[in-house]
Symmetry: C2
Subunit: 223 residues, 2 copies
Amino acid sequence: MMLSYTEENYLKALLKLSFQNEDKPEAGTNEMAAYLGVKPATATDMLKKLKEKELVSYKKYGKILLTETGKKNGIAILRKHRLWETFLYEKLDFSWDEVHEVAEQLEHIQSAKLVDKLEEFLNFPEFDPHGDPIPKANGDMPVIAKTLLSELQAGDVCHVAAVKDTSTLFLQYLEKLQITIGTKIRITEVIDFDGSRYVEISDAAVRNVSMKFAESLFVQKLL
Amino acid sequence: MMLSYTEENYLKALLKLSFQNEDKPEAGTNEMAAYLGVKPATATDMLKKLKEKELVSYKKYGKILLTETGKKNGIAILRKHRLWETFLYEKLDFSWDEVHEVAEQLEHIQSAKLVDKLEEFLNFPEFDPHGDPIPKANGDMPVIAKTLLSELQAGDVCHVAAVKDTSTLFLQYLEKLQITIGTKIRITEVIDFDGSRYVEISDAAVRNVSMKFAESLFVQKLL
DNA sequence: TACATAAGTTAGACTAATCTAACAAATTAT
DNA sequence: ATAATTTGTTAGATTAGTCTAACTTATGTA
């Protein structure tokens, strides 16, 4: 079944929202509309269409849930998006915060061969430049335990695993701090007053980062 | 000025037609509609819009001509198309006849940085996989003398420069004959009866190729 | 030159995706 | 439990790109 550019975007949005609302992989009409930057009325219309095509299951005034087919399609788009981001970052020297916008366009290119060849060309990467897992051709996607920097204690050591907040402002700040995926971070002190913490970056500079910062970064704790 | 996907296609079609009708770089409504696979009425509507935007110059029942701006835009799209074709062919192992369809989609991606970085990544190629020149960022495009294989005499030697016919059938036939851009060809004999000729390919196999074949291949004659 | 044919245009309709404004249902708070 | 608020839907309009059918202009040939 052929999906329009727009339909694909709705499916991807729904998939992303289902990741965000981990406990219940459902979404509301307003939530979805806000995510996509359209009005709720528009979302309602599209939902009817997607339901017609059996890509979402939902009933009037109820919650929205992707069907198996819908999910499969959403994952295929996410796969393309993340592979293209990796391509732009690794091969074309795009910076961390530039890749997303272009990948938003590239993810809609239709060609199964292209995606698979691109994956091969990139040497079957597991993660995209933001540290998010890239789904395989069959839909498999490594689910990795996500620990926030804010959950660690003074003395803990970790590697940066992914960014939770992908805003340009945050990504540029990370760049300024010379923090990238894999960077080693040691918590030297947690300030109870405001939740900020002192961290040692790459065995070098010690910086104070805010609570907000610590809640925007996923890490992998080391023993 | 932001052009829609569709508007871009009309401009590119017009540019292509202007190359085809070398003498007069004009096009007719039906010609254009046929090229794009739409009805003449549709083309007329779009023409009005393009005229409004000063991308084409034309008046009712008259011929269609690209304005300077229209041409500039068309060339930018052609540049993207040919760079992507080169990428697919050289980096992702697409075959000669597979690249076009995907490049038709990729050429509409909006990102000046992407195009320039791609060009750099490909090492500033001069020609695409079909032997057509790739416009530079400033719009320059090498105009090369185009000699058809059919114009050569018995005894002449040449290198394959480009394909005139880009149909899948022709490209696959070339592949079968192991002819690609740069392949050396020597005309051993021209049969007056049907215009077919015997040609020696890469100093090896001698084959008989039809008049139609000889008129579909551009070559560069050697002294 | 006149008429037949080809080329091009217009009018009116359709579809997809969007909007605004008004309404209905569900949830929350008093 | 009822009112206020939030959430979601409907109806009607708009825009871009397309179509068909009918019409108009230009061209070419007898």
